[in-house]
Symmetry: C2
Subunit: 257 residues, 2 copies
């Protein structure tokens, strides 16, 4: 597998290197400042933002391709990564839009036409610890930034639908996947955990019931430390008991949210 | 979209008609004689059995392609159908095996080479009411038959892995999808529902706890009729209260199995 160094090389040679019909798009979630955020790339030559994504080399494993893309865009290995849905509507790409975009790169006519083929895209979602990520644009982007979930527009192609489907998936996997563990730092407060759940579920939860229920799972360890630098009463810090968390998730955490 | 009539036409012309990198495979579950069964096709010119599957026409929607394949293989429309995983390992197909198989059809050299390309396959699972299905082979198969889940071998390519992944998916979606409703006939007995759950979960459940819990969900209607023709004490028949079932599934049925 060879790395593609320049954008011209990517556009002109990609058709020989990549699988002709499969792409992937990654919804990378991080939690920071008590907000659930998504990593987006500002594309060059358009006003649109895109989910980090890419193509699959002809002999590359699909999951390996997703891991590669995530590593390149975040600097992290060992990311919690799940494929969640395939987007296979033939009208998901807009050839006219893409032809116009290609023209802006001054690529010789005929080159890059592979990009106008129909790509079925596999959606992956990733959960990362915000502070570990170094957002890095790819070769067709000018910036890579975290966006607050409720403050996103101008998304490229069907990326809004991919993002919404990822969020729906998180919602119903809350009781089955270590979502809190992967998004929160090692030590966190109960209000932070509550906010994360509220953001994913898209609704307010009762603070006291939430605390009672979380404690009843036996997956949290209350630490002796408190959060420093708080204006009000300092909240205790917690961490996950990973062994118990994973055991509980195998059978699914009990109850509805 | 044109229909492909003969196997020769399929092999010789398919490369022009189908998307060059995507296929689909369907795990069709049915429940009969108190057993969970899977519909398999006996392939011509080999000893292998295959999951019903197919290719996607160049401008065909992926979900529409799955619906088409299921309709052709079962005679049913309106099937409960879910994509569950993408199988994207480049070594999933075995070129030598497939070249040998192609040779047995006496296709002119060079024709049909599109079948040796790398196909990433999307797994769908379907839940059907057994009695409504007319198993129908496709043009590369000699038979289409239901197989008891515990009595399956000689599966083509990675179809064993696809089947196992579908079953795992059923297992953890039991509380989120109308699995019982789609697999059982309109009227069923509590022992039949219990057996279905036991087969999917791969373990014995306590009969009385199961009955108590199922009743507690409020999704079953106990009918006045009993099952006729039973040697022992005739069991009552039940049906699902679809409205309540769907409402309960939206938030997920409570509890572990």
């Amino acid at each position: 597998m060879r790395a593609l160094k320049s954008i011209r090389e990517f556009i002109e040679e990609g058709g020989k290197l990549f699988h002709p019909g499969i792409s992937l798009d990654c919804v990378i979630f991080g939690f920071h400042d008590n907000q659930l955020k998504v990593l987006l790339l500002k594309m060059e030559h358009t006003d649109d933002w895109a989910l980090p994504g890419g193509f699959v080399y002809k002999e590359e494993d699909l999951e390996a391709a997703a891991t590669r893309v995530l590593q390149e865009r975040t600097g992290i290995n060992n990311i919690f990564l799940q494929q969640f849905h395939v987007f296979g509507n033939p009208s998901r790409s807009d050839r006219e839009y893409q032809s116009n975009w290609l023209r802006k790169w001054n690529i010789p006519a005929g080159k890059g036409s592979w990009l106008l083929n129909r790509f079925v895209t596999v959606g992956f979602y990733a959960l990362v610890e915000f502070s570990h990520v170094t957002p890095t644009p790819d070769n067709i982007s000018v910036a890579s930034e975290w966006h607050h979930l409720h403050n996103i527009d101008n998304l490229f192609m069907d990326h809004r639908k991919i993002l919404d489907t990822a969020l729906e998936t998180l919602r119903w996997q809350l009781n089955h996947q270590p979502i809190g563990y992967n998004l929160l730092p090692d030590k966190f407060t109960m209000p932070e955990l509550l906010t994360l759940y509220e953001t994913i579920l898209g609704k307010k939860l009762d603070r006291r019931n939430f605390r009672r229920r979380m404690n009843s799972y036996g997956i949290l360890r209350k630490l002796k430390e408190k959060r420093k630098g708080c204006a009000h009463k300092a909240p205790y810090l917690y961490s996950f008991d990973l062994r118990k968390y994973q055991k509980a998730l195998q059978e699914g955490l009990q109850g509805r949210w």
